[in-house]
Symmetry: C3
Subunit: 305 residues, 3 copies
């Protein structure tokens, strides 16, 4: 694996192997990289958990992290993503983790760039490391995926998490259902009420209401969203035995979910954050190991690069 | 000590033990932590000396520092302090150093958070690591506290340094006096002229005039403040033999203190900065050592956490 | 060498010794510093390549880098450069790398500061590490400097790169010519057309058009600049055999240079970035080695500092 750009590029086999490696890291295994790699994190949008999670994972697989302040970089002078990443390559960076506003920004990095690219969110596109940690969280809970019912609730059309997860979960045999207001469904077929969804869901996966997107919409109120689509205390009580609650966070308390449920027994919301570090270690190791093997082949056969 | 939130929570015994440990670090002793801990610095307000001082101290006690850019974090998306710190806990952070605008922001972190919290300034509240370095500076100079005269000059009512220091110094037997314009005294009893204060002060402790607070006040002028309350060259000449000048910095030169006095023989202003690193090493070691012992107890007796 | 502030302070001998050391680093030699030094990077203006290049070089010579966020520091509270750098000295920083808007900002750091200062750009002044990497790039290509023709193209009067390079190159026996619109020549004698310059140039060194400076100028258009002063595909075809193209970057594609030429065979634009890391390792090692020797002398003869 040279890059991790989208869940669509991962086979079930690759995906499962990342999950199983994360499990080993969680049990305390050490990474198997032969040298320290140089990485940089390019976050062009605010982030706490994704950026700190990558920072931690990078150190745990022995990387040197070169700070990059996206809000104070030459991107301000109009430099293209290609020129920025090529520059980092020449400086000696082996892999970059990028979050950017532009969907599929990485397309301009596919040709001519030797640095590995890990997509940490591209606009309303994909967020594969989040998807993988979600899958890992489900895997830890149920041991397998086939036949599970997963209900994804929220702004489906703008959610990179919803899209990444739906693709991967369906490929793994999961029955994925969407629940959202009509205007947030986009091209997806969605339910518009909880009726019939709560009682058989193994996983209720809530999405963050992006107030930035909806604040000018007079028809939107937090209270009525919570009442119609939120996971209320009353709804949680009706959930299936052994079922779990997930949310990529940050949570809008009392909007997507009642504040008192955020750390309830069923909730895996903070566990997801914990799982994210192990998943990102597995992603980084897999990508950097690939570079190692590549380096060896090149040096053995003296292939010009 | 799990957290360091306010000087009010420290006994004289704890406080003295931190000062003595700082002295050992200054003499070149190494920290006694058994492993590398993960820390993050959450500065929601601008800072140079406090943040770089903690960064340096953290490395000197063997910590891994995970960068956290407060001005580019999910706090922008409205995430609460609790959710931010809980997230960092799940990522594997052992201790956070926080500076925030909100007084006593840490109250929401007392329940449910396992990460250790070091308060690096809470609005007009407390700034305990600054207080401890001030005490260390006085201790280095005079060898003891009992009976010293300390005059604190400036915006007492808005100064977290003034409050933290006054509490601790009085507990240690110091005679603390305040000097400031009437409107800056708040609930404190204060002098409004230098008369009788200069000649017997062992320590003149100047506070920074926070221009952000006073710039819209037409009655305030830098020149007249300097003339009435500033430490002028003429006033310095009248100071007691062996007495010292302190200031938490950044200094407004020629406002709180004449520019040529900032590095005069009596001034300990830059020494305070130097002392801060040793004090923060002592704080970090004490808190992280506490976690170590706790970890051992838990693993020995297999207590579920 | 205690500081690196301006090319004007470097003798040819010092300059060549830095270039030769960079060459050794590029061949894989390790640094010869006896301990880990503490450095901080103070970038008061946006930067990608210079800041990440220094970050990488610092780690490669074994430094500990203490993060400093210029846009969130006490400089915002009006702290002077002297007080900021003195503070970092007291915290234990050995060397600072500074980029600032103010020309010759370092003059206030020459007295009373013990930290070593590396100028990473002072307004329209100098940018010596960029100059040295440019010289290294030319040296790698031609093996020597004497008698080479170098044409520098662009906003000469505002370019710190142009000035730093012209001084150094002329001292090394290079024939330096400027090409720019009349209003960008400043006090320099410049050509205003490519006539006669292309065919005998060993190096065409393009400068970045600083749109920030020219955007309000109605007479300036990117298209006409490219046509008159840009390196077009047609002009590149007329360049001398073995000649090279340089640019300090970030490049405005299709303004200073046709986009398809940025990575053409003649272009050394991304090589310059690569060379910068080795040059900065050599600069850092030279400056920190100087501190080491100084430390030894002081400790041997017990000279108070």
């Amino acid at each position: 694996m040279k890059n991790l750009l989208s869940m669509e590029h991962l086979t079930n086999r690759e995906l499962i192997s990342i999950i199983l490696r994360a499990e080993e890291f969680e049990r305390g295994e050490q990474h198997n990289l032969c040298r320290s790699y140089n990485v940089a994190n390019l976050f062009f949008e605010p982030s706490t958990r994704t950026s700190t999670s990558f920072e931690m994972a990078e150190r745990k697989v022995g990387c040197t992290v070169i700070p990059f302040d996206a809000s104070f970089s030459s991107a301000l002078k109009g430099e293209s993503m290609y020129d920025t990443v090529k520059t980092l390559e020449m400086i000696g960076i082996d892999a970059v983790v990028i979050r950017a506003k532009e969907e599929a920004y990485y397309n301009e990095l596919l040709e001519g760039i030797n640095v590995s690219v890990i997509n940490a969110g591209d606009g309303a596109g994909q967020h594969p490391s989040q998807s993988l940690l979600d899958l890992y969280t489900i895997h830890k809970e149920f041991g397998q995926f086939d036949g599970l019912n997963v209900t994804i609730v929220g702004d489906i059309s703008h959610s990179r998490v919803a899209k990444s997860n739906a693709i991967a979960l369906r490929n793994l045999g999961v029955n994925v259902r969407f629940l959202c207001p009509q205007e947030w469904a986009g091209d997806f077929e969605a339910h518009h009420s909880w009726d019939g969804l709560l009682e058989d869901s193994d996983v209720v996966m809530l999405l963050r209401v992006q107030h930035e997107r909806h604040e000018n919409n007079k028809n939107f109120s937090k209270e009525s969203y919570h009442e119609q689509y939120g996971l209320t205390v009353e709804r949680e009580a009706r959930m299936k035995k052994g079922s779990i609650i997930m949310h990529p966070a940050p949570v809008n308390r009392d909007v997507e979910i009642a504040s008192e449920l955020v750390e309830c027994e069923r909730s895996r919301i903070f566990d997801q954050v914990r799982n994210g570090v192990f998943i990102r270690m597995a992603i980084l190791e897999s990508i950097l190991k690939g570079r190692e093997i590549n380096d060896e082949v090149h040096s053995k056969y003296s292939i010009a690069r």
